[in-house]
Subunit: 409 residues, 2 copies
């Protein structure tokens, strides 16, 4: 049994992403793990660029996380090097030296200080990174960088991803235009907590650091932090939002401009988050879990995650089985306030259970077609208070096992 | 692909369980869900019997849990009716009426008060229980009950279980003998929280209620509460410990007798808990996760559960892949204090990682044979403080998907 080469939930085409002034990209193939494809990405930002970042809360975070976090905190980021196939995580002093060696070489070639160099690495954990394979490509990368290389960039950062993920938005401010372009990767080990696998978002808006970080944090909560593939959180999650300012449009806090920008940013982030779920290892269904009526949004989020992470719910959906009893189980096990006889469950918009039992109006034939579709909607209303949350996930299939009983990630 | 009829990890034979005075059992076949096998068990206890119980903390607990919990609280338990194939959970007023109707009929036939009747139900959630199918068998059950029917009893309570689970211990107190006999069921939806699927333990020791409950609680923490198959907690978990007193051996609190009894009870409970993991849906490996050096036992338990519940760790073991990077990931995501550069990881007793990287002495060939065996040992020492915990689980295989994408549980 071979998993499909491309997820059945993949978008038909790679989106059109406009070139964004103030950022340049180049890709190359090191042959480190993957053959016949690019696996190294360089992003270079103009001196005016402000960068916000969110990072994994893992207690075993990778070298790249520790290094890049510091550069973001010091507002010094100019170059970002991304390699795919080796996470350089749990590689100790050796891993640290490898990363330093690659970034030192890049610093020399670019003429930019070492403390402006960032790195993101994903792939196998525990194998020392071979810096030489990277260093051999840095001069070519530096000399070949351009502004419109979104598709090769999104492709170069893939690991078990079956398709390249990108999204963009254009915002009009009078006669000026602001662009947002973004790429992401992720397929397994997806249960982001404060950040996701890798997500790199660039805009030509001009935004101060505090506001940029705040908008990234808030939009992240409703996008990358609201997805789960397998409940496993990576050592290497990172999402960066870079504002080059090249559009000359300044976004002020609490302004109408900020509102418009944040709304477009949310769309980009949510689009990317959905693409990651749609490339969830072995995924054949995209599942939206809406929880309402909880005692708080946080409580609703825990219940939605409990449903979205339940292997029994996910396998039932893989089998196109309207097994709502497993949703009841997942609500029950979440450890959050819930009243058995008050909660209602809807699947595909159809009322399935209420008053502590199957709804009188419900028969399975009502949702047969919905269960066979690629987009599954589960709604649980606890009817206690006003807490709401949405979480997106995918089903759990044989292909997940096939991929993960073999792949060394 | 058809899952094996019997788990490859099943014991070779059903254990010898002595008859225990003060308890009688009988089984029957209602045909409710399963064909050609018994699916109904009656246990009757002598008037002197004291019963302790632990129940699921699920917010969507089944009717049987609510009913039986009350009887145990009031110290009135005399009859226990167990049906397999329908959990009578989330069946509202109808489900309540079904259970009451079965128990009323049993009360009439036995001549015992209704408030001494207990029930345990597992199987599909959300389908009303057909009480008539049960009532038709109660008179025969009552008339045919005996003291030595452990094997048919353990078989009758199975749902997706592939083998009948039982355990026993004999304790000598001078010239007197105390027996413990026990049965359990469970295979999927296994992440007990205060109790497990179903476990029924009977002893002929004489033990007061408070001590009995305390010993059940404590031994449960190191047995049923320390296992997980799929991180999903059932609506119907229940474990009962009945002491008939027929041996005339009295167990006093804080006595040497109590110490001996508790130790034997722990062995029975742990044996049953291991059998449930060994019958985990699709299991091909039995996995022991030992965590030490945590800031507390509770913290060690959370980290051990994080490893044991990680789909990526479980699929790696299914693939006989010594992918210790995924163990690092699972420690990191647990949200508990851990220092990347202090922790050590051992697989099959072999040091795999230390000082924040792969151990110098480690090569995969050292644990090749261990990974191919049926018993996998993972040890993580955080080296911070003295907190320890052990959790048992099984691997995650294609058969888990096959079973759960079809079975309506």
């Amino acid at each position: 049994m071979t998993p499909p080469k491309i997820s059945p939930l993949a978008p038909d085409t790679f989106p059109e992403i406009p070139p964004i002034s103030g950022v340049w990209m180049a890709t190359s193939a090191t042959g480190m793990k993957y053959k016949d494809r690019d696996d190294l990405l360089l992003m270079v930002f103009s001196p005016e660029t402000i960068i916000a970042g969110l990072f994994t809360k893992s207690a075993t975070a990778a070298v790249s996380i520790l290094l890049t976090k510091k550069v973001i905190e010091n507002n010094q980021g100019r170059c970002l090097l991304v390699n795919a196939g080796n996470a350089n995580a749990f590689t100790g002093a050796k891993g640290n030296a490898s990363a330093q060696s690659a970034l030192s070489a890049l610093s020399t070639i670019s003429g930019l200080p070492l403390n402006t160099m960032m790195m993101a690495s994903t792939g196998v954990i525990g194998e020392p990174l071979n810096a030489d394979l990277i260093c051999a490509h840095l001069e070519t990368l530096w000399n070949s960088k351009g502004t419109a290389n979104w598709h090769p960039a999104a492709s170069a950062i893939k690991t078990t991803d079956t398709f390249a993920k990108a999204s963009s938005q254009t915002i009009k401010y009078g006669d000026k235009t602001v662009h947002i372009g973004a790429i992401a990767k992720g397929s397994g080990m997806i249960a982001p907590d404060m950040a996701t696998m890798l997500g790199f978002i660039v805009t030509d808006a001009k935004i101060e650091k505090a506001l940029l970080q705040e908008m990234l944090f808030e939009t992240n909560n409703n996008s990358f932090n609201a997805i789960t593939v397998d409940s496993d959180t990576s050592t290497s999650d990172m999402v960066l939002l870079a504002a080059t300012g090249a559009s000359k449009v300044t976004i002020q806090p609490d302004s109408e401009n900020a509102h418009k920008f944040k709304s477009a940013l949310q769309q980009v982030m949510t689009d990317l988050a959905h693409q990651i779920v749609k490339d969830g290892e072995g995924a054949s269904k995209f599942i939206t879990v809406n929880v309402s009526g909880a005692i708080s949004d946080a409580s609703a989020h825990i219940i939605a995650k409990s449903i979205a992470n339940s292997p029994l719910v996910k396998t039932a959906i893989a089998g196109e089985d309207a097994n709502w009893g497993r949703i009841v189980m997942a609500v029950g096990k979440a450890g959050q306030p819930a009243l058995r006889d008050k909660l209602t469950i809807r699947i595909g918009g159809v009322l399935v259970a209420e008053n502590g039992q199957k709804a009188d109006s419900y028969t399975e034939s009502l949702i047969d077609n919905h269960m066979k579709s690629e987009d599954i909607l589960i709604e649980v209303d606890l009817q206690i208070q006003d807490g709401v949350a949405t979480v997106w996930t995918c089903d759990l299939t044989h292909d997940y096992i096939t991929i993960n009983a073999d792949y060394r990630s």
